[in-house]
Symmetry: C2
Subunit: 248 residues, 2 copies
């Protein structure tokens, strides 16, 4: 028996998200079915991040246990032969039997992409949030700086969450503009339900001048979802990657 870790990229457009649900096909489900069929075992992967419907990933992480003799590093090739085009395993390796992708300390990095121009671009419509209004990048960065550090992010969490501990640490937020694309890159030790999308929606408000950067401080203190900005659309969000302190 060995534990195998997969790093998985996917286009979230056609899925109801990472986690298996009744109302639609989940990425997790496709991976479970493909692995189970391939190995003749009943495989249920443990995923690191439960991305929402429409959210993309360059490197979500999942582990599973198997008796298979396939070398751990060959699983990426074997799986990619069988997976649909919109899910591609980027790497596979063996990890300790006790490694758990949600309980082990990690740094998760997300990127929120905004297309800021006069008209939408068709080829970007599923991978960015289109915005006509000019964004002030400096104000967005100033607003973001208030969020960096260890805070109670209750205001930046959807009320649907079952989580009780809403304290998280954000290591960095960088807002950058290149041509017509604005990217918000957020790294932290963990994120609440919809947290990066609510942060992005709030930073957009700072960028358009609807709020002042320093208002973010008051939002944090309110500990109330209604105090923060709107939840930005899922399609702009990509889980870039997850780094574990004891990586394989």
């Amino acid at each position: 028996m060995k534990r195998v870790m997969l790093t998985i990229a996917y286009d979230g457009t056609n899925y109801c998200g990472w986690q298996t649900q009744k109302n639609g096909l989940a990425v997790e489900e496709v991976i479970n079915n493909t692995l189970s069929e391939m190995l003749g075992e009943d495989i249920c992967v443990i995923g690191a991040s439960r991305t929402d419907a429409g959210v993309h990933a360059m490197g979500n992480v999942a582990v599973f246990d198997t008796d298979s003799r396939i070398p751990a590093d060959k699983f990426s090739y074997a799986l990619n032969q069988r997976l649909p085009d919109d899910i591609v395993v980027q790497s596979s390796c063996q990890v300790d039997a006790g490694f758990h992708p949600r309980h082990c300390n990690s740094t998760k990095t997300y990127e929120y992409k905004i297309l800021n121009r006069r008209f939408p671009l068709p080829t970007e419509r599923l991978y960015s949030h289109f915005l006509y209004y000019d964004l002030n990048i400096k104000k967005m960065q100033d607003a973001a700086d208030y969020l960096v550090g260890t805070h109670d992010f209750k205001s930046f969490c959807s009320v649907n969450t079952q989580v009780k501990d809403t304290i998280r640490t954000i290591f960095s937020i960088n807002v950058e503009k290149s041509d017509e694309t604005v990217k918000i890159r957020v790294s932290g030790n963990g994120f609440l339900y919809n947290m990066v999308r609510i942060i992005s929606g709030t930073l957009i408000q700072a960028g358009t001048g609807q709020i002042n950067p320093e208002d973010v401080k008051i939002m944090l203190e309110a500990k109330d979802r209604n105090a923060a900005g709107p939840t930005a659309p899922a399609r702009g969000l990509t889980l870039v990657g997850i780094k574990y302190q004891n990586n394989c």
Copy 2:
């Protein structure tokens, strides 16, 4: 009566190409139907470039004549309200009644995008050609340089073409690598059927070492489609834009 010029962006994935055909929905057809319904006139646009199935555009050009009182520059907004998400008019303006998008002198720019890494990226699968093998960018550029200028491009044209004059002028070809993406940018006064895709397929062969850059000279001289490299897949190609000498 006025002649209106549209600059049109589209995601070519779900279309059989620009030109109306029996076997599938064409971009041109969608625009004709949308304009005809909107104006209550029977509109048939004249397009500048007949892009293939799966090829994308940032700025293809089309013109039509109308008696409508809608100001020419408002057509972009009016059309975008009615067009599907994967076709977006980027601008509209009035042009001279004699302006013809294929007969007037122009510079067309295409970009061919190659994703050069270990595994494909799902979100790029419809907008780039995935290639595992390392590409030597200098050799690709050296090969490209033989194509710049006025030549008979018969070797770089699909045999299906009905065109007799196969002489064209390429103003520039630039091959650039940024992270894991290689872009081939080609500008010229006109292109034969599949020409940019055959150029791209040939430059890829130079990049992987299957041919030497100087072989391109012999390919040109052969005036035979079999002498040049393969036709690279449509999804990697985007018509970036068309500049007219007397633009509106």
